[in-house]
């Protein structure tokens, strides 16, 4: 009998992003504090994934229009496409980031 290959210890990046987003949303759903929401370990892990995670974050952003991803997005590419008038308006923040992603050649 051929032995089964050992399971890969490396989780595909897209699956990792989806898992972390799900964990982050489930565990912060009751919070109002933006400090605690963006300080959540899963959110910090998303930031640590770096620029390779951006297409998957933009895919989620397009589906959810969850502007709370803005801090992670801002820290990864170091861009700030949100105008002062849009700041704090969660859906407009998401739209500004999707615009920026399109203009900068990201595909998702």
């Amino acid at each position: 009998m051929t032995p089964l290959p050992a399971p890969s210890a490396v989780e595909p990046l897209e699956r990792q992003v989806v898992r972390l987003l799900g964990q982050w949303r489930a565990e912060t759903a009751h919070l109002s504090s933006a400090t605690r929401v963006t300080g959540h370990p899963a959110y910090q892990e998303l930031i640590a994934l770096g620029s390779a995670a951006l297409p998957f974050l933009f895919r989620d952003l397009e589906r959810t229009r969850d502007g709370h991803l803005a801090k992670a997005l801002g820290l990864i590419p170091g861009a700030h496409p949100v105008s002062p008038e849009e700041r704090g308006k969660v859906r407009k923040v998401a739209d500004a980031w999707l615009r920026w992603a399109g203009e900068n050649g990201y595909q998702w």
Binding site: T28, H30, L31, S33, A34, D66, G88
Partner: protein, 133 residues
């Protein structure tokens, strides 16, 4: 079966409360108490473009700063939570360290309305949200 909202806010179990909106992450309890359903109000993070805080108020996660936010809208500290004709009251909640966690706004019927994080708005009694969330 206990509803998710009651798992996250255990003091709601057995309480008389009513869900009054759909879930949304567009605004939080501070915004809702201030009458805003477009922004997420929270101080102290210049790297987070998804939050709003009035420019004239200190960027601090303190009760003093949160009281100051509502002062910009004409609110003033009061002695109790009893409804009073001609006044709208807002209650601020904080954790054991004094860090603000929540705000609720009083309705004309004397009950309170709260936005629960990314969840729904509810109508409730003031102490239904006390304790750990």
């Amino acid at each position: 079966m206990v509803k998710e909202i009651e798992v996250l806010f255990p003091a709601l179990q057995g309480a008389v409360y009513r869900v009054t909106s759909a879930r949304t992450g567009d605004y939080n309890c501070i915004a809702w108490a201030a009458g805003d359903t477009e922004c997420w109000w929270w101080p102290e993070d210049p790297e987070n473009d998804a939050i709003f805080w009035p420019a004239e108020v200190a960027q601090e996660e303190t009760l003093t700063a949160f009281v100051a936010v509502f002062a910009t809208m004409g609110y003033a500290p009061c002695g109790d939570d009893a409804p009073e004709d001609g006044f709208e009251k807002v209650a601020l909640f904080a954790d054991g360290a004094g860090t603000p966690t929540h705000a609720a706004r009083q309705l004309p019927n004397g009950r309170w309305t709260s936005k629960l994080g990314f969840l729904e708005d509810i109508e409730h009694d003031l102490r239904d949200l006390s304790g750990e969330a």
